[in-house]
């Protein structure tokens, strides 16, 4: 006779150690190769969204600081551009290496400052940031190969404004191609996540990057707006919301300032009846719950073929209930903290609108920490294409399910959006996947995967998701002027 004992399958806490993190209490802004106090003395705390505790004080750049940084960037640019291209490359290779060497520290800080699970900052954000610097370092002495043997020149000083969802990775996406092309850059990190950009400034110092080549100017939206309106800027690259992108495009009207925008999305993730459904469910989860859904290309509109609707939703719900929400520093955490109180409120407003408009809401029952900003993974069914939760970007761990009968209807519904950033296709039929991929108005289409990024692969949107591309040779062209 055997005795069965019940086994508790829960995980023990597995927090990542933080003792190797060397954070200062205060970080000034970084310009002309040095950390400096803001000229108006303004320091603001940056908050850990999982605890609501301040991590460090950050110097916010004022108008005078922006002006000084611009002058230094302008002064540094001709020398930087005149370096032998391979020498310029060497600085970028150094930065890539230093990111790898400090990867663990950067991952922990990214997670503390932004709330994303350590598993993601460790396995995605930081390695990809290093990979981007490696990729574009190699371009520095091959620029004309990237533009069909044309003679090219850098643009000058570029202003780069990055969001809070992938703070270091977006900084890398912006800085690496800009510097490789011989521009100098002023980067404004997001208000809620300035820390890893400031650690990157330390890395620039450590790499002995010439002063003025990179400036990091923390601040809020006003700082970004002031940077955009500076007449000394030759190009603006912005990643963020469509609303702010629209303001920037309008602010630059009639000017020669080049512009690229990587904006919002409401991307369709399409599950066909012939898909490997268990694999698809993993992809759906990765598509929408990766980084708490704070992903511009998140698969937030789930389109399921009617014949497998019930099965997919049952499997998805089953899977969702096993998601571990909580301490982002815990290596077993799947869904971390919402980035800020402000973002949490936006999610709550849209989710309430979903319920009011008649969609059926299911939110997983899980314990949430007492402090910090949290939103449990949520699934909406009975969604109509006109509902706000099917139209507007929620930027949170909320997926809206729509259904379709035919491939044509799937394409029609997927394209029925003012956005066009990304899409997912789940099918085992190759010919169908290629046909659907070519019919979708989206800058990135993933078959049987989602949220995969690579420095060699262009990324960027159609329609109101923006214009210009980042990654690969296409990512060089926005930072170059063709001379002839």
């Amino acid at each position: 006779m055997s005795v069965r004992t019940s086994i508790v399958w829960d995980y023990s806490p597995a927090p990542e150690a933080t003792d190797h993190v060397r954070l200062r209490e205060r970080y000034g802004l970084f310009a002309d190769g040095e950390f400096k106090d803001p000229s108006d003395g303004r320091y603001e705390p940056t908050i850990n969204p999982a605890t609501e505790e301040p991590i460090a004080e950050i110097g916010w750049a004022g108008a005078g600081d922006i002006e000084a940084a611009l002058r230094s960037a302008q002064a540094a640019q001709p020398k930087w551009a005149a370096l032998k291209p391979l020498e310029r490359a060497k600085y970028l290779f150094r930065i890539a290496r230093l990111i790898q060497e400090r990867a663990r520290e950067l991952a922990v800080v990214e997670t503390m400052d932004g709330g994303k699970p350590l598993r993601e900052s460790r396995d995605v954000d930081i390695p990809l940031a290093a990979a981007h610097f490696f990729h574009y370092a190699g371009w520095a002495d091959k620029l004309h190969y990237g533009v069909n043997a044309r003679e090219v020149a850098p643009l000058g000083v570029v202003g780069q404004i990055v969001p809070w969802n992938f703070p270091l990775l977006m900084a890398a996406w912006k800085l690496a191609p800009a510097l490789a092309c011989g521009n100098t850059a002023i980067l404004k990190p997001a208000e809620t996540t300035p820390l890893t950009a400031l650690l990157l400034a330390e890395i620039c110092q450590e790499a002995e990057l010439p002063p003025g080549v990179v400036a990091i100017l923390p601040g809020n939206g006003e700082t970004g707006a002031a940077l955009v309106r500076s007449k000394k800027i030759n190009k603006i690259a912005f990643t963020g919301s469509t609303a702010v992108g629209r303001d920037i495009q309008a602010a630059l009207a009639g000017q020669d300032t080049k512009l690229t925008l990587e904006l919002g999305g409401k991307s369709a993730n399409i599950v066909f009846e012939d898909a490997a459904l268990d694999q698809a469910v993993e992809g759906i989860v990765n598509g929408i719950f990766f980084n708490q859904g704070h992903v511009c290309c998140a698969g937030s509109r789930l389109l399921i073929q009617e014949s497998v609707r019930d099965e997919v939703i049952a499997k998805l719900w089953q899977r969702m209930r096993r998601l571990r929400v909580g301490d982002p520093l815990d290596k077993n955490t799947d869904v971390g903290a919402i980035n800020s109180a402000e973002q949490l409120e936006r999610i709550e407003v849209l989710v309430a609108a979903g319920e009011e408009e008649g969609a059926t809401r299911r939110t997983i029952d899980c314990e949430l920490p007492d402090r910090g900003y949290w939103f449990a993974p949520t699934l909406f069914t009975d969604v109509s294409p006109a509902h706000r939760i099917a139209v507007e970007e929620i930027f949170g761990p909320v997926v809206s399910v729509l259904t379709f009968r035919t491939q044509a209807e799937a394409i029609e519904k997927a394209n029925n959006s003012r956005y066009g950033l990304a899409a997912g296709i789940w099918t085992d039929k190759g010919a169908k996947a290629f046909e659907v991929a070519s019919a979708l108005q989206a800058g990135v289409v993933w078959q049987n995967t989602y949220n995969h990024f690579d420095p060699t692969a262009a990324f960027g949107g159609y329609k109101e998701s923006g214009f210009g591309r980042e990654g690969g040779p296409a990512g060089l062209r926005p930072y170059l002027r063709i001379v002839r």
Binding site: Q249, R418, Y462, E464
Partner: protein, 269 residues
Amino acid sequence: VSRLSVRKTYKLWIGGAFVRSESGRYDEFGGFNFPRASRKDVRDAVAAARKAAKPWAARTAYNRGQILYRAAEALESSRGRFADGDEVDAAVDVLLHYAGWTDKLHAVLGGVNPVAAPFLSFSLPEPTGVVGVVAPDAPPLLGLVAELAPALAAGNTVVAILSESDPLRGLDLAEALGVSDVPAGVVNLLSGRRGELAKALGAHRDLNAIVDAAGDADLATELDKLAAETIKRTRHSGAVNSYEHATGDALERLEAVTELKTAWHPVGA
């Protein structure tokens, strides 16, 4: 006995049909009446261009190249209609140049991405959709064709506002293209007052890009502001007045009306 000449009434070209302005308005140039298009005509033209966009983009690159070549043939054969033969010659050559781009753009702008994962990842150019062209006053034909041809070669459909000072050359082009193989709605040509029409075009929410060669700084600023409403792609340039000018920066012209799509397909399981 002297013969009374048959005077021509010029018309707009919208959705493959030669039509008067819905407004009933007209202006006069060189002894001919021509339509003064309205904002409603702009909307009709954008709707026609949108309807034609998907089938035009879906044609093979080879077929689109053939159609643009046929357009060049049609323009060459109507050379006598235009006062300035050199300008027609240059316009024909520009059409030929871009006819040859349709099946080369992918090789030049796209490629396979060697991603660090088991996927076949590639990036390919696609048309942005419906492109609005604001043609310069002069040269009235070449200046228009230089903006039309890249947009068409990249697979877009076009609504163009013609030269305001000499609109008949653009309307003549419509008649030449009208007997070529260019499908209905792929090119739509409107004559009238630029200030009125260009703004209506720029403000249209179903337009993907604006290519402005009018060379008017105030209008450019206005168009940029309107474009921001729906994040339209914009390109401003001066009037093209030579074949070299129209083709020397071909890649920038093509890229301005092109999207790059990156697809990831699994390799193995």
